[in-house]
């Protein structure tokens, strides 16, 4: 894997997705890619979470969150608990 890429291992509502993305890939683009691959609707309120922290704003690239090498994240349906 190129050092310009990040391997992202994503636990999703429909199983695992593993993909290499450029460091400069925006969070929103990763969500769209994974949603498309997994048959999810990206407008359904999905968010990427890394070690308990939501990766927002989604316009920011992977590298701006300090994510390099291989990282594990979760693609989570927001919902709400009240």
């Amino acid at each position: 894997m190129s050092s310009e890429n990040v391997r992202v291992e994503i636990a999703t509502p429909k199983g695992m997705f593993v993909g290499d993305f450029p460091k400069t890939a925006k969070i929103q683009d990763i969500i769209r890619t994974v949603a498309s691959e997994k048959g999810l609707n990206p407008s359904d309120g999905l968010e990427l979470v890394h070690e308990g922290t939501v990766l927002q704003p989604e316009e920011r690239p992977l590298v701006s969150f300090g994510l390099e090498g291989t990282v594990s994240v979760e693609l989570v349906a927001q919902g709400s608990g009240v």
Partner: protein
Amino acid sequence: MASAEDLIVHSEVADLRQVAQHRGWELEERNSCCLLLGLPARDQTFFYLLVDYTAYRGQPPAWHWSDESAQRLDDQRYTPEGNGFLHQSGRICAPWNRLAYKSVDSGGPHTDWTLANWATNARTGACTTLSAMALRIYVELNGPRYSGRRKA
């Protein structure tokens, strides 16, 4: 012959098993409609949930906090402290948890939700698969709303 609904549930369990294996979570299928799931929290505490998906998808699954042998359910000693989804009632407070409905469980906080409409409840959002629900719980156990294991 398996129904279409059975096949969907089977596929959802397979998805959840894949995530659990990859993440090192514990998952034990106890029978055709029940599994025990172990999830780590951010303080390294492991929490267990007995997931009863009888009558799922017509009804949401029941997510019971449990001990690791699934002998003690909904016991404060095996329940996380927190807020939001980690409700003070000791039940996961979401339309996708059957135990959140007072009509099902006297400890359930909600009388204003309809069990049969769980999947279309606005608060369910896209949390409509077993894996999505488990991930939501995992994120809550590893996020700022979690504050440790409850005291007995």
